[in-house]
Symmetry: C5
Subunit: 91 residues, 5 copies
């Protein structure tokens, strides 16, 4: 999983079957010090509670659909948790 | 999923079984400000409505075939939605 | 899927079970203007017709084995089509 | 699999169903000489024994969930072993 | 699949269930001219015959476990063949 921050919403009315009702958010990947790193991705909101500026962790690839009510859909990035804290053991 | 723009069409008459009738498009990945980023990929058209210059989002890897009528085919990039708008929450 | 060009053949007599008779080719990934881009990969020949210098498109990861007669094999890159033409819609 | 070192803990109370009780650690990927290389990732602790500063190897993508008691969960990075030694054959 | 060379052995006594008896090797990815390229990875030895300095090709991601006797294990890199020769068709 990777750390990310929600930076936007994607609006799409024409989609493949099975994706109706799924919220898609624009997520900026972060490094361990929470600085932006790499390209923003479009992730399905698996916790259904993520909002603007939230710190989240998300899965990529096939298993992302397991975070959704309908698991047999073409989704490859999904938010699976809202992060409360990251404790570094080595500074 | 990633944001991309349709920039071309791929014509292939010799294919593995199961891919007959599937439209393949050349898609340029975009960053969050919609600037081209990285190499163009060949994606199956899962919505069957994508055309030149369309802004789309697409899945990569195994689950891409779930966007097609025949899901048991070797396809690893598929367009799953046409994007109407991207709303950034952080400027 | 990605565009590539066949640049060589890989000869391997010691392999895991299930790969007997599968042809492995060295494929150079190409960008949208067909210039080499990134490292060459070893791909199984799913169309069984690819030869030297052929322009092809290939799948990566798990679904690659779906392009082979025996689909339950450890293969993660496979050629799935010979490309006749790439038509760019934006120059 | 890749070599990594445990550098922190991720605390998340809001998660998708099925991830309750799974420990998530921040892992820094290492190169063959054990120098940090690339971005830290969030990995589930499959051995349930990994702690701060441990040298581990971890899997990425779909098969990561196979390292957990509940295998049908959206997890794509998991620690699968604690490394005792790495013996290089070529200096 | 990718070309690589065996450069070391990984010793790990604490592992997830199912990995007992599997040999893990440190493999350096190579480019088409057999020069090192990218970070070394930890691969399961699917052919059970790979040794120091061997030229191999290996699979990444989920299908890697198909190269092992027990296929339902969290392994994402596995050696699937020993390479006898690579014949380049374009110099």
């Amino acid at each position: 999983m990777k750390l990310g921050r929600v930076i936007g919403t994607v609006v799409a009315t024409t989609q493949v079957e099975g994706l109706e009702g799924v919220k898609f958010l624009l997520v900026q990947p972060l490094d361990k010090t929470r600085k932006p790193s790499g390209q923003a991705i479009v992730a399905a909101d698996g916790v259904a509670m993520a909002g603007p500026d939230d710190l989240v962790y998300y899965v990529s690839s096939r298993e992302a659909s397991l975070a959704l009510p309908n698991t047999f859909v073409p989704v490859d990035d999904a938010i699976v948790g809202l992060v409360d804290a990251v404790e570094l053991t080595t500074p």
